[in-house]
């Protein structure tokens, strides 16, 4: 693996829930990233974010890592879950709540 792939792998494996996004949770820089953050917040999940706009290597590398062309990308317990469309579908069906282990309200 290249250096970037190793760094991404480390981020994915050392965080239970990690969202690769454009911007930060507080200031998302893209509508899709904003939607992903809103979903996780709604579930009351505790998560890390990685701002790909701050790191070109990760921005390009993450697409190769998951064979997925777009950002945001959500990883839970080391597994790629999907982008914001899949997150929304899984949120609506209740699957995401189960996956991130948030308590039912």
């Amino acid at each position: 693996m290249s250096d970037a792939q190793n760094r991404i792998d480390e981020l994915v494996k050392s965080n239970d829930i990690v969202l690769f996004m454009k911007g930060t949770a507080l200031f998302p820089q893209c509508g899709f990233s904003s939607r992903a953050v809103a979903i996780l917040d709604r579930l009351g999940a505790t998560y890390e974010t990685v701002d790909v706009l701050q790191d070109a290597e990760i921005r390009n590398g993450i697409k190769e890592y998951s064979d997925w062309p777009t950002i945001p990308q959500l990883y839970v317990k080391g597994e790629f879950v999907g982008g914001s469309d899949i997150m929304m579908e899984m949120f609506e069906s209740g699957e995401l709540k189960q996956l991130v282990g948030a308590e039912a309200e």
Partner: protein, 81 residues
Amino acid sequence: MAMAASEIERLIKVSIPDADVTIRDLAGDGDHYAARVVAKSFEGMSRIRQHQAVYAALGGRVGGELHALQLETAVPTEIET
């Protein structure tokens, strides 16, 4: 660079011949689309694989030439209620 909805539909159908494709132009700028792709051949594939099949059909345009494609995939039986 913008892309025509008909071109997106054509490319998807070349790779996934049994796909039923519905495209909406979200912003009217030829750059933000929503696509719903329903195909029998998606059966048994995870959601991630289904989306990857559509991205592959579009040959690397998503995330580049085509900035935003909101994507929804399904197998026909899932929507017949």
